[in-house]
Amino acid sequence: MLARFWARAPAVLRPGLGCQVMGRMTEWRRRYPATERKKFYQDVSISQGEGGAFEINLDRKKLKTPQGKLFTVPSEVLAIAVATEWESQRDTLQFFTMHLTTLCNTALDNPTQRTKEQLIRAALKYLDTDTVCYRVEEPPGLVELQRNEWDPVIEWIENRYNVVIGSSTSILGPNIPKESKETFEQHLSSYNSWALVGLEYIIHQLKSVVLSLNLIDRNLNVEKAVLLSRLEEQYQIECWGNVEWAHDYDLHELRSRTAAGTLFVHLCSESSTVKHKLLQD
């Protein structure tokens, strides 16, 4: 099947004999990271490798990361979800829809070579410019909407973590005390590095630490968190109308990325234990 694929490639790109099949694939991917490639497999399955980690098999080949490492995930449920992503591809592989795979690849390869502390710092940097803390002063409709929708989520976080955040209409943003930042830093360091990759991803998508923590702590669902993140945009849409190819496109992309990130964090940080309750006769 691959012979036809390689026959069309110019000779200079065909790697020499002796490479493994997956090696050729990743070589090709490194030189031509195309966003769309033909589907080259029929079946997707999961297997458990040494050390208890789960691997994805495309036909008989093992999936590898873009840097060539073996693709392994710590959780079976995550493996099932990734396998479903690969299974749902049709004639061409649309990598921009495979968010869980992308997150796993980032966690495995760590292409930007960041340590856990750097990840936490990058995540908390959004706190100073947190979306829900930046308030407008006009129009009055939007001011009230922001107050009604954003104040409760800030309050929830303040109560839960015993911190002070507040909101501000100044261009410099909210003044977040050092103790609050330290509390968050401590809380974030309780997550493992995989979950942190997911958490930083969500924060980057929603542009808000407050909303992300509300989402991770299950106070909000994904649709509501995305709505709150895009509150002003939603307000303008209701005033001026919706443009499907821009607004809806962005909305669904944001929802899919946020949902993938949330699922990733939860699956990487939970340890499911089955507790059987004895039925009292």
């Binding site: 999961i46 449920v77 099932i80 979800a81 396998a83 479903t84 299974e87 749902s88 049709r90 649309q94 921009f96 829809t97 968010h99 299950r218 669902n221 994904v222 649709e223 499907e244 190819w245 809806d248 496109y249 669904h252 992309e253 929802r255 899919s256 949902a259 993938a260 949330t262 699922l263 939860h266 309750k277």
Partner: protein
């Protein structure tokens, strides 16, 4: 409400599976999700934390499947490789092609 959520997820999974009819029931995802929902039904506690966690996770997964599908559809519609007539392209940004009563100069 949980039943509606389960139905939603299974509907999405069904639309994802390439084969005919009941093949999607063989997939690992289908089996896992139905098993999880079945396991969490039997609980004597009214406010079961595990149940709430499962509900949130299931709702997140349904959102993921739905939004990926809709995003892909919109991408295909507006960013896919397809020839669009000039009139349709203009309409995308809210414009209309001009009407020339006498016809364009080069038309017979």
């Amino acid at each position: 409400m949980a039943a509606r959520l389960l139905r939603g997820i299974l509907k999405e999974l069904r639309s994802l599976s390439p084969g005919p009819g009941g093949i999607y029931r063989e997939s690992a995802a289908y089996k896992y999700i139905t098993e999880q929902f079945r396991k969490n039904q039997v609980t004597s506690e009214k406010l079961c934390r595990a149940q709430q966690e499962l509900y949130h996770q299931a709702s997140t997964y349904r959102c993921l499947l739905q939004s990926v599908r809709q995003h892909q559809a919109l991408h295909q519609e507006y960013h896919g490789k397809r020839e669009r007539p000039t009139g349709e392209v203009a309409q995308l940004v809210g414009l209309k092609l001009p009407q020339q009563p006498g016809g364009k100069g080069w038309e017979k």
